[in-house]
């Protein structure tokens, strides 16, 4: 053990980290597109009322000696070029990087763009955070999380990371695999396709479609029209807001827990194949436990349940307390 600790100490002692900063500012009139291509590091983009684009970057290079680390840090560049009506921001690394003596390098970029800009951003091996961009966002990220805060009209493709969305308006399309999706106060038109992870939505409003595989889906405080389809995972949904007009729940190979709040009207119907429906409410469940229907009050949310190899449990109070809005 001592040898291991010593060798780690010695190894750590031979490393040198060089930090270099880059700053740049260019005119970027409103309505212009911004395309950003980055990898190895975090990329944070925010919208502002200014008609300028501002970039601040921190380059970190770790090597076995200062000279080689500095040499590489000096060669890493972030190109900012305007072509036609598009501002390109591209991180480039020198082509002939020797694995040794340079050990690692990464660049964290902060970019401020006009809030009306149309944004396309790609990143890999780092997080991608975008806030306040209203001109539309097309984001792609691999091996890192994506965060969207107060943006409008966004299309997100993510692999091997989580997607967090807060207060998005307009449309939102999320295609995620190998990670979780968290939606908070997202409104208008939402479509999420997720695999190998969980989906959690709070305060969703509008026409919302959540499609998940191999993970659980949980929704709270939903309004408008919500469709949840889940395969090979559980669903937990609430009818607790009278502004929820439709709730469609489709499940294959899972368990569904539906919570109907008291005093909130609803009309409910559904069936399951190779499963059971149980309820603590005065709903009509057939003898086989495969069909259910009932209502409470006048009007209210139209709730439709459909399951294959799925059990449904319908109750008026949740088993566990609501966990409120979850943010990272």
């Amino acid at each position: 053990m001592l040898v291991l600790i010593l060798s780690l100490f010695v190894a750590a002692g031979t490393e040198v980290t060089v930090v270099r900063e880059l700053h740049s500012e260019v005119l970027c009139p409103s309505g212009r597109s911004v395309k950003v291509v980055h990898h190895y590091g975090d990329l944070r983009i925010s919208g502002s009322a200014s008609e300028k684009a501002k970039m601040d970057a921190i380059i970190r290079v770790t090597g076995r000696d200062k000279r080689s680390a500095t040499e590489l840090a000096d060669k890493i560049d972030i190109g900012i070029v305007t072509r036609d009506e598009t501002l390109f921001v591209v991180t480039s690394y020198p082509r002939h990087i020797q694995p040794c003596p340079v050990l690692s390098y990464e660049v964290d970029v902060r970019l401020v763009v006009p809030e009306g800009a149309s944004l396309v951003a790609h990143n890999a091996f780092g997080g991608l955070m975008v806030s306040g961009v209203k001109g539309g966002c097309r984001l792609a990220n691999r091996f890192g999380d994506v965060g969207l805060d107060r943006c409008q009209n966004c299309d997100v493709v993510s692999r091997y990371g989580d997607v967090w969305v807060w207060a998005n308006t307009g449309f939102l399309l999320v295609d995620n695999r190998f990670g979780n999706v968290f939606l908070d106060e997202v409104t208008d038109r939402v479509r999420v396709e997720n695999r190998y992870g969980n989906v959690k939505g709070t305060g969703l409003d509008g026409i919302v479609h959540l499609d998940n595989r191999f993970g659980d889906v949980r929704t709270r405080h939903s309004r408008g029209s919500l469709t949840v389809a889940n395969h090979y995972g559980d669903i937990s949904a609430w009818v607790e807001d009278s502004a929820l007009t439709d709730l469609d729940v489709m499940s294959e190979l899972g368990r569904v827990e539906l919570n109907l709040a008291r005093m909130v009207p609803y009309q409910l119907g559904g069936r399951t194949v190779q499963g059971l429906i149980r309820s603590t409410l005065p709903l009509q469940v057939d003898e086989q436990g495969c069909r259910v229907h009932g209502f409470s009050g006048h009007g209210g949310a139209r709730v439709h349940l459909s399951g294959t190899w799925t059990d449904f449990f319908i109750q008026s109070e949740p088993i566990e307390n609501a966990d409120g809005n979850e943010r990272r």
Binding site: V90, R95, P99, E106, H122, G144, L253
Partner: protein, 174 residues
């Protein structure tokens, strides 16, 4: 001559992951620029090398176990890549419909059951392909940025997921 293109753009060019006019423009540039031609050759070489790396294939025993468990009526809910910076978490949960093995005679399977089983096997394939791709991408990244902690973490997660998925399958989730 126009400014040279970054590896990222050249890589996207190889994938045809650009607008048609960009592909045309870059193609013209490459014809004139030996530096970008050389870079493109390097990217291609790295990709070729990555694709020839050893693939982790399920052994016969694994497939035997999958078939055996499926025949026994134990449907599986497969793994989740737990993101959020956690270590690789590939969770295979043995899914027992209604909490118990389904009592369906093997000779007369219930309608839809075969489809479910076939779907699960297909999902397993898709999942493994996704993980294999992650491993390959991480290897490529490690070849150029070997000690980058993000890349290392991603590689470890992907590799662990790959191994765990096979391991849990062979053990039947027990």
């Amino acid at each position: 001559m126009k400014q040279c293109y970054s590896d990222e753009i050249l890589s996207a060019y190889l994938d045809h992951d650009l607008e048609p006019e960009q592909i045309e423009e870059i193609g013209r540039h490459i014809e004139e620029c030996s530096g970008c031609r050389s870079a493109l050759e390097q990217i291609t070489a790295i990709r070729d090398a990555a694709s020839s790396l050893e693939q982790l294939e399920p052994c016969e025993k694994t497939w035997f176990e999958i078939q055996r468990r499926v025949r026994k009526g134990r449907l599986k809910r497969i793994w989740v890549w737990s993101g959020v910076g956690a270590a690789a978490a590939v969770v295979l949960v043995v899914f027992l419909v209604r909490g118990r093995p389904v009592q369906v005679p093997e000779t007369t399977p219930a309608p839809g059951r075969r489809q479910v089983e076939a779907g699960l096997v297909q999902e397993y394939d898709d999942y493994m392909r996704g993980i294999d791709k992650a491993v390959e991408e991480c290897k490529t990244a490690l070849s150029e940025n070997p000690h980058n902690p993000r890349v290392q973490r991603a590689y470890l997660e992907a590799r662990s997921s790959q191994i765990n998925a096979l391991d849990v399958f062979t053990s039947g989730g027990d």
